[in-house]
Symmetry: C2
Subunit: 430 residues, 2 copies
Amino acid sequence: MDTKQVVIVGGGFAGLNVAKGLANKSGVEVTLIDRRNYHLFQPLLYQVAMASLSPAEIAQPIRGLFGGSRNIRVIQSEVTGVDQEGKKVNTDHGDYPYDYLVLACGVQHSYFGHEEWEAFAPGLKTIEQATEIRRRVLTAFEMAEKEKDRQAQKKHLTFVVVGGGPTGVELAGAIGEMSRYTLAEDFWHIDPKLARVILIEAGPRILPSFDPKLASRVARDLEGLGVQVWTSSLVTGVDVDGVDVGEERILCSTVLWGAGVQASRLNKALEVVRDPQGRIVVEPDLSLPGKTEIFVIGDQASFSHYDGKPLPGMAPVAMQEGRKTAKNILAELAGKPRQPFNYLDKGQMATIGKSRAIVEYGPIKLTGFFAWVLWLVIHIYYLLGFKNRLFVMVQWAWAYLSQARGARLIVSKEWRFYQPKPKKEEPKNL
Amino acid sequence: MDTKQVVIVGGGFAGLNVAKGLANKSGVEVTLIDRRNYHLFQPLLYQVAMASLSPAEIAQPIRGLFGGSRNIRVIQSEVTGVDQEGKKVNTDHGDYPYDYLVLACGVQHSYFGHEEWEAFAPGLKTIEQATEIRRRVLTAFEMAEKEKDRQAQKKHLTFVVVGGGPTGVELAGAIGEMSRYTLAEDFWHIDPKLARVILIEAGPRILPSFDPKLASRVARDLEGLGVQVWTSSLVTGVDVDGVDVGEERILCSTVLWGAGVQASRLNKALEVVRDPQGRIVVEPDLSLPGKTEIFVIGDQASFSHYDGKPLPGMAPVAMQEGRKTAKNILAELAGKPRQPFNYLDKGQMATIGKSRAIVEYGPIKLTGFFAWVLWLVIHIYYLLGFKNRLFVMVQWAWAYLSQARGARLIVSKEWRFYQPKPKKEEPKNL
């Protein structure tokens, strides 16, 4: 039997689980390409942004994960295109031929055609963005402390979070908690408790994927942390001084972006069917229609063969899709038919501040402290690598008992430098 | 001994206590003039506005209070001026000569020179205004329920309260509680819990007369009821669509005004020294400088001989000033010297929602449920008339246990009709 080349693009939950499923299997050689050298535990990224965790605690070098797997090589590289005819992945330093290609490139935040807003409203998908958000939020309090003019002070103490999904909720809740508890006694000239935290959601309610009652409970929990939730509120402008919400206007120094997703740049170049969010529509076996050797999984894929709606961009979905794809590749190599992907609903959860969460698992709906403990256990369990798990637990225990934030560090680097510069020329041969 | 004529203008806490002090004393005949026929227990007026109490439960006919006092006559009339030379009070149906004049006309809200805002932002000094506020708040929810357009709906569900004094705090807290608890389950198409309640205060914090820690606690309690507190926020415009706060803009259907006071119209015409709020500066014995036969008391007066700052416009101040004035008149008639007014600080309190309050009494500072019980006991105790006390207690017990609001009545009358129309001509002979 020939050895087949499997190229995986993206080392997130989806890509990683394909590689794991193929590790040490005979008949396949795997090339895992990521522009980063680490896997990021994205569900906890907001805790880096909020100075509760350090970046290293939620990131794990990909190379280290596959040290014992002879058939997996890890390449840190930027993919520039896919040559579907020649079956090659183009990167910034050479091409990689494939028999099977797995695209798991994820998504980025969408500014709804207003990319110029990004400079004023960083999203939360990368470590650099998380660090930048942390810098901005902590700096805002410092600026307010120095500022004598009360109007300017108020502007510094206003935090707008755009997007009422889990990311926005977790960010807003964390800023609320920070201002109401963590920093409450740390300043001389300002009362951090006077900070305005506003969570803006375009839809009629926050957390639309959750049960309305749970979402309503979250809105109340957020209010308890000083966050006001503005629903049915469409952001129409973001500039250095504040945010426009239709005809309304809020002055603020800090805007954080958790709204909308758009597919990876690669998608736009591929000749594929895309859903309204730009995600690639896939077959029941997660392959491209008419291109059975190409799989698209994770947030990048639009899989609607489960309940008619595309599956949400969540870690459990990505992990299951990755495992299924590895199985299907191995099945096909063994001469067996592929199995359609069947999503096993693991439920969903979101956390609000330091001791409240909501958990939805089929008919089971939990709130409050118990939900938070469950959230904690599950997230620590899934966090990769023993060292990290232990550190995160210690970190959290300390933070919980002391009300302090271990990583309250303002790293004053220009975050936009750290984003890979988009190539001027479009990817070729797609 | 000649019988002296004492004319009291105003049947609030101040004027009423002068009359009480002079009731059935020999040597004085008292004329109590008020444009209303009732005394209003203003500290609970916000509960009428918020549909917890009916107007009759906090109002008491003045005439009924002095039924047993032969030397007190009660006149319902509008005072148009004071003839200081001729020692006569001019009213819209005749003059009343006096030997002693006690002015206790109170204050009204100040729109800082923008009287045109009043149409969009009623204050809370009269029963009519309270009823109008109730109508507007309850109507806003009804309008939102009928409205299909989500933007218009959001506007109806936005409540802005201007002024972070006790009135503003109590109004905002009550709207928050109404939307988060009382009305929470009453609507089909809207979730009242999504209502935005914003309390706007121009100064750096709410409740400036209270201890900063207590004020901070109140801000947190308000947040728990869904109210966001905006400090250092100066309202620069109010119109039918919303509120301008400097360069910020909020769309809303309901604006309530609890900011600033200005003295009664009468003050502007009197040749007296006024403080920046327009209140009349008085001598240590509460008389006008150079006019010992005229006393000014209650909110209308600016008495700063206690701790250098003018005493706040509160019921305990007004009541003590009224009693002292009665005593001084009687002392003088008996040939004894007047005593300077010596304020006995009874502390201050404010309530937030249905079970929280703050109480400040010298070094004693109470918060939470116990403070609320104290607030309740004191307010019921001071509420005039046994019938009212009993009714209010039953009303409150019911409201507390049932989470309902007994007086959830939209009275659809044009409130501005009920305000006495200001006379075109200025008061004469002042």
